[in-house]
């Protein structure tokens, strides 16, 4: 059974979001997603300063099997990205919600991004997907 922390928000495309005390939002892929992908061997994170629109691919995670895009769950500017994943992509497998974070974003005001899910809603989604 996948780990779905109750204090995070989620997307249908299996990203998680955590709002930090400085107002930025940390983003990664869920435990369910890392499990489905298998052993991760390469991660491409976005450059700091990049302006993202909600829904656009901002990172690539590659397992032994395949490369997968990760989609921005909100619009904003990248304030940090997890460079440690270059040397240790498997951190996403072992600690998807901690050391496996991908980027931090300062949200752009205005337009709402895609609808976010609560932990309960996300759990329901992955149960329906057979996770």
């Amino acid at each position: 059974m996948s780990n779905v922390p109750s204090d995070l928000k989620y997307t249908k495309s299996h990203e998680w979001l955590r709002t930090l005390s400085d107002g930025t939002v940390e983003v990664g892929i869920t435990d369910h997603a890392q499990h489905a992908l298998g052993d991760l061997v390469f991660v491409e994170v976005p450059e700091v300063g990049r302006k993202l629109s909600a829904g656009e691919p901002f990172a690539v995670v590659e397992s032994v099997k395949a490369a997968s895009d990760v989609y921005a769950p909100l619009s904003g500017e990248v304030t940090a990205s997890n460079a440690a994943l270059a040397a240790e992509p498997e951190a996403i497998n072992s600690d998807a919600y901690g050391k496996g974070w991908l980027m931090r974003v300062r949200p752009a005001g205005g337009g709402a991004g895609p609808a976010l899910l609560t932990a309960a809603e996300y759990e329901k989604l992955i149960a329906e997907e057979g996770g």
């Binding site: 061997v41 390469f42 690539v60 032994v64 099997k65 490369a67």
Partner: protein, 362 residues
């Protein structure tokens, strides 16, 4: 509707994730694919390869039939149980399939062909067998397990009778024989030592569980693919197919043009290709930096022309990305690969990348 091997229920019980592979619902991994890979390089792993098609070919004129059917020459098979790897070709020289044939006696050879090409292979074999009076019997009653790794032979042999164990351990590489009612071959697709065991379907689950108890790791097709690619072995449908010929698929060594009078299917086409020189070649690639090479990525060759990756992966043994690629024949040693619109440096190397647990490239 996908097909299932006799071990499907066991795979489910063992928690395997399965995928459709050539129309078969097959285990891709049980736990970590990389851990399964390392188990085979360092100790022993077992794979269900029952989806592959075992065909017995019987008849007094079996040798002349196979001399026509295969680009490699069964005339090389003089010792009982000896195996030969080779291709069936179209008249154009394109590869219909690669296969192994075992020489059992003067009226009986056994072939093992790929799952995804089973129907075309059987139709092709039957079409040509008729003229030689050769009987073609698909052995759907058999399951096939590949036990691979440096400790594989000893762990598997320990499960046989005392006499059977001695006989199995006495098998030379690329030989097979019937032992304790099982067909045991010292062959494989991983670059490690080991056996491929064909046995009655009903007995397969018991053997698998006994191997697990002996410390042999259950391995899926995911690890099988990274292992074969490290070993520099082609995968039909990726690295060669009906539109490519053996000389541009690093399979020239499996084409026996001598003796000259052997009129195998595809011979004329191959002789013409050889006379004008192959335009392309299949090579190994080693990615210099980080990233993962994947099939269909474009390869830019400074000597001119483009190539394409036919199989690419992350090599767990080398901890970097490797690939097989079809490139212009003039390609030298340096190329660039287009990965999502960015060019990455890669080096042309001669496969295998890894053999018997050791890295052969750096």
């Amino acid at each position: 509707m996908t097909r299932r091997t006799p071990l499907f229920d066991l795979h489910q019980k063992l928690g395997a994730r399965t995928v459709d592979f050539g129309g078969w619902d097959m285990p891709v991994q049980y736990g970590s694919q990389i851990a399964e890979h390392h188990a085979v390089r360092r100790s022993a792993g077992v794979f269900d390869v029952s989806h592959m098609c075992v065909v017995d070919l019987k008849g007094a004129r079996i040798r002349p039939f196979l001399e026509k059917l295969l680009a490699n020459d069964v005339g090389k098979l003089r010792a009982h149980g000896k195996a030969l790897y080779g291709c069936m070709l179209k008249e154009t020289g394109g590869v219909i399939d690669d296969l192994i044939v075992y020489y059992l006696d003067e009226t009986w050879f056994r072939a093992v062909v790929n799952a995804g090409t089973r129907d075309t292979d059987l139709a092709w074999i039957r079409r040509h067998a008729a003229a030689f009076g050769v009987e073609v019997v698909e052995r759907t009653d058999l399951a096939m397990l590949a036990v691979q790794g440096p400790e594989a032979r000893h762990k598997a042999a320990a499960l046989l009778s005392p006499a059977g164990s001695l006989a199995a351990l006495a098998l030379e590489p690329f030989f097979a024989r019937e032992i304790d009612g099982w067909f045991i071959a010292r062959t494989g697709y991983t670059g490690e030592d080991g056996f491929e065991i064909m046995l009655p379907a009903m007995e397969a689950e018991r053997l698998w569980r006994a191997l697990n108890c002996a410390g042999v790791t259950s391995c899926g097709l995911g690890a099988r693919d990274t292992l074969r690619l490290e070993a520099g072995m082609n995968l039909y449908g990726n690295d060669m197919e009906e539109s490519t010929h053996p000389f541009e698929s690093a399979l020239g060594w499996t084409v026996a043009l001598e003796p000259r009078e052997r009129a195998f299917i595809g011979r004329e086409a191959l002789e013409a290709i050889r006379a004008r020189g192959p335009q392309r070649k299949l090579v190994g690639l080693l990615l210099e930096g980080r990233g993962v090479l994947r099939s269909h990525q474009k390869v830019l060759v400074p000597e001119g022309g483009d190539g394409e990756i036919t199989s690419g992966t992350f090599s767990p043994t080398l901890e970097r990305s490797i690939a097989l690629a079809r490139v212009p024949a003039a390609a030298g040693s340096r190329v660039q690969v287009d990965i999502r619109g960015k060019l990455h440096d890669a080096r042309i190397v001669r496969p295998p990348f890894v053999r018997h647990g050791k890295a052969l490239v750096s």
